[in-house]
Symmetry: C2
């Protein structure tokens, strides 16, 4: 579920430089805040992937004017070009040095006995800090303060609510400008804003982090599901439907009770404890175990679009990207060890087909190998890792190797795609599991008559469909591919007398399954075209006297392109073909 | 959710006769049990729609031999033809009379102060009973004891587990025989047994009353959903998707907290109380309220296949007929008062279309009018009832009128279908609701600019899809219509050398979406045909040398009919047509 953002850094040197600049900028910012708000309690202020922040407790909210003043003071300090230097202190000295700063006192108190305590300073300002700064304040580069947001001390909802000032710093003015352009573009593409504007979905505190999908959003999700189902038919999957609420005996058997309870919703029924499913795996195991199986039946591929619920703290939920309820294109494959390679291969082929059609032409793969703590014999791991390696090598694609990063139950391959902003998202995964068959005593009758455990392969291409929709909206800036668009064509009559002909055209489109509508409102043509472009409707069909007489429509694309007057039947055929092929 | 079984009785006289016979048979049975088990504690023994039962506490389980002995003793009593007679007793006398019978003592103690206490007797045996018996034991008619089952005293899981003996009694031997044939047929058609045999679904105590759908059952449910979705496109519905878990503030606003809490699953999240949705209505209201609406947009029809959860006591759940989790073909229509008639009319047309295709050619309608306790003005009720009456009258169909049986929030029409066994099931419903718009402050801008509340129309055609599947399985004895069949055609090669040609034929069928498979197992042809018939597969395609040479298949129907050798392409075209038209 978590977005993984790749570093855009070209080298680890650049990465180190930026770390030092941003870390230093955070100190300089805190110094400036304390000059303006001497009573401020300062918390922590680390560098981040694209900037820095610092958390403060002050008597009133920061205003935009405050940020300007803080930035101005920072520029003075940068100009002064004072060196950063660090010293080691005893615990007592440190507690005395920060005696007026309650958060620092708490941090010092919580440090392990044998931890070395260092303080870094520039000018006369000093901070409790492990170091790694620029040489001097003059080396902070091009920086800018960006925004203020609330943040709990130590991320704990029961502690103080602080104010976090975000800023960014880059090695050159150009790099800063490029970054500011990127965040402006990211805001323009923010799926939460577009979701509202395009009438796709909304959120309400009555069901926190649980999207309500309006008709248009539901169309997109259903199209995605239908698309995946088509691939399932082609690749030999069988869909199943399983319950959502299970007695905790199941979650104890599966290991979720020991490892995942904090993220589960629990219910008492008839004085027994039940849990709402956060994953489909145990239900898939129960389906498998409901019948006996022979090696001849394997592999069995059970696909389950079951709705999942996972508790996430309100601080970490984010639009569709991190929700508390979602559906996955989830499936579990029950196979023999010998079938692992063919199954993974087939999955990668299916995933490649899906990603290409969905507009993610390239993807990165990372193979995660056995961790220290694991189940299963070395021989099993050898075989499974060899199987995955063989498939990846045969694929001719590059992949990254992550030693020790596999799940405790088996090795896995994760799939990452870059979006239009250069951010990278983990979508797909394929994981081998030797533990589930053991926990659920799954078996098949092998060719020699012996009972053997199958291996379980967990796999998803898109992952959470909710999150995938969020990624897709940001990737396309809301201009979804034709086949996914809630409205595929809007007919714009130039005058009211063209409405009946327009309706005829729309009926023709609808009769063949195209989602089309007539805009018979009172706006002028220009306004209707702008509205359609704003709604990212792929085709606008303008109809006036000339078009009507010739049984044509003047076709405009949302991108601005004009196809001119096209015969109605030709247009219908063209759009049907485009939708059918998901071109 | 509850099955409504119509009485098969031709007249209320016959109904009264059967009541008296069965009630009397229950007494005679209890007398016989006490002769055989003098220490028995007797509970209650009423007549039912098709027989009678009596609950007993005895030291050991009843055996089939016990039932034979009990029946033999009953026959003696019937032959003796002793009259039934009743007397009124004081509370003290009654407590004394039944001093050895703890359940009777409890019943007497719980009777209201002013209740008249009567005792009815035959021979020397007497029972606490309000009366309504046959004249004498000789008038009990043709009877038979059927089975024994466990039953909690007063239906309370925390009280004594008793043994219930079921019997039946009819006015003639023929009526008894006809009834026994019917229950044998019902057992043959039991959807729980067929569900297992046909590989459709199963239950497990780990998720009580929550079906696990295997691939074949999932195909049927998905076909039903797709069918309903097609009708939704035709009749102008928009599908939406809403969360499942809501803060109880929502359930307080909707009235569920006050009226439905016992049937809801509650969860604590972040120290606040949440409820899992038992109905979609409040979420539909929230979707409507998320935007402003003008009269021009109405009616708005939101369809929601959201999974619902309702707690039902384990004693009342039954296969798919009464479960704890299900999906409905549920929709909520937001309309003006003037649109009620057209909307209900359109719904009945859609329902008629759906039922006909699903093999329920006729249905009965019942209009339920204003109850004493209700919301809304008389003028609103007048208009709504007049609207429904007008639609029903115009439909030219008969309907029953149920005065005072409407919901507190509006009048409703329920739709009943008879199944192949003559049992009647309530499937569809359409309900007008004046309360929900008020509770959620729903509005639309009327033509005159004023803000008006829309009326909400709750409607479902099939109701719970799980339950509908159960009804359909019993109605068809598992022989689902072709378009719903999980496997639509099975190809049976006479010898192994015919397998490749058989696979070619199956590939042709699959390419056009027909669910077909080759039975390439080792069984002989006759066994394969019987297996296919047992699995209720609509078409068996037998292929030998002659068929292969002529590019034909020998087509057999599951009903036993033979279509002879049919050209492969002709058969493909025929089956595609049959599926597409849901013939």
């Amino acid at each position: 579920m978590s977005a993984q953002q790749s570093s855009a850094d070209a080298s680890s040197d650049l990465s180190d430089l930026r770390y030092r600049m941003r870390h230093s900028a955070a100190h300089v910012m805190a110094e400036a805040v304390m000059k303006l708000f001497p009573e401020a309690q300062i918390a922590i202020g680390p560098p981040t992937d694209d900037g820095f922040y610092y958390d403060f407790e002050v008597s009133r909210p920061f205003t935009p004017e405050d940020l300007e003043k803080i930035e101005a003071l920072m520029r003075k300090t940068v100009k002064a070009d004072t060196p950063f230097s660090g010293v080691t202190l005893s615990r007592e000295a440190a507690l005395d040095r920060f005696k007026d700063q309650k958060f620092k006192i708490e941090l010092i108190t919580d440090l392990p006995e044998d931890e070395e305590i260092t303080v870094w300073s520039h000018e006369s300002w000093e901070d409790l800090c492990a170091g790694r700064h620029a040489e001097s304040t003059g080396k902070i580069g091009a920086f800018k303060l960006l925004s203020v947001a609330g943040a709990y001390w130590r991320g704990d909802e029961n502690r103080e609510m602080l104010q976090r000032i975000y800023g960014t710093a880059w090695e050159t003015g150009e790099a800063l400008e490029a970054y500011l352009d990127r965040i402006e573009e990211a805001e323009r593409r923010d799926h939460r804003r577009l979701g509202r504007e395009l009438g796709l979905f909304f959120f309400d505190p009555i069901a926190p982090a649980s999207p309500f999908f309006l008709p248009k959003g539901t169309i997109v999700l259903n199209e995605l599901i239908d698309f995946v189902k088509e691939l399932y038919v082609k690749y030999g999957y069988q869909e199943v439907m399983t319950p959502q609420i299970f007695n905790t005996d199941l979650w104890k058997q599966s290991g979720h009770y020991d490892n995942y309870l904090d993220n589960m919703y629990m219910i008492n029924v008839d004085e027994r404890e039940f849990g709402v499913k956060p994953m489909n795996c145990p239900a898939a195991a129960m389906l498998y175990a409901a019948n006996t199986h022979s090696y001849r039946e394997l592999p069995i591929r059970y696909a389950d679009f079951g709705r999942l619920h996972r508790y996430e703290r309100s601080g970490v939920t984010h639009g569709l990207m991190r929700v508390r309820t979602f559906v996955q294109d989830d499936a579990h494959i029950f196979a023999t060890l010998d079938q692992i390679a063919q199954e993974v291969n087939s999955f990668i082929a299916m995933l490649d087909e899906a990603y290409t059609i969905l507009g993610f032409g390239e993807f990165r793969m990372a193979l995660s190998l056995r961790p220290d703590k694991r189940v299963g014999t070395d021989e099993m791991w050898d075989r499974a890792e060899a199987g995955l390696t063989e498939v990846l090598d045969a694929s001719g694609r590059k992949y990254d190797l992550e030693e020790g990063e596999g799940a405790f139950y088996g090795p896995k391959i994760d799939f990452f795609v870059p979006d239009a902003l250069g951010r990278e998202w983990q979508l797909g995964t394929v994981q081998l599991d030797f533990s589930l068959p053991e926990r659920f005593n799954l078996q098949y009758a092998a060719e020699d008559g012996s009972l053997q455990p199958p291996v379980v392969i967990h796999r998803a291409m898109l992952g959470s469909l909710e999150r995938f929709l969020g990624v897709l909206i940001e990737h396309t800036a809301g201009a979804l591919p034709l086949w996914l668009s809630p409205v595929q064509a809007t007919l714009i009559p130039i005058a009211d007398r063209h409405i009946p002909f327009g309706q005829e055209v729309v009926e023709k489109l609808r009769a063949v399954g195209v989602r089309a509508e007539v805009n018979d409102g009172n706006d002028r043509m220009g306004a209707k075209i702008r509205a359609a472009q704003g709604q990212k409707i792929p085709y606008m069909l303008v109809v006036g006297d000339r078009e009507q007489e010739a049984n044509k429509v003047a076709v405009r694309e949302r991108s601005g392109g004009e196809l001119g007057a096209v015969d109605v039947d030709d247009f219908v055929a063209r759009v049907v073909e485009e939708i059918a092929t998901r071109a």
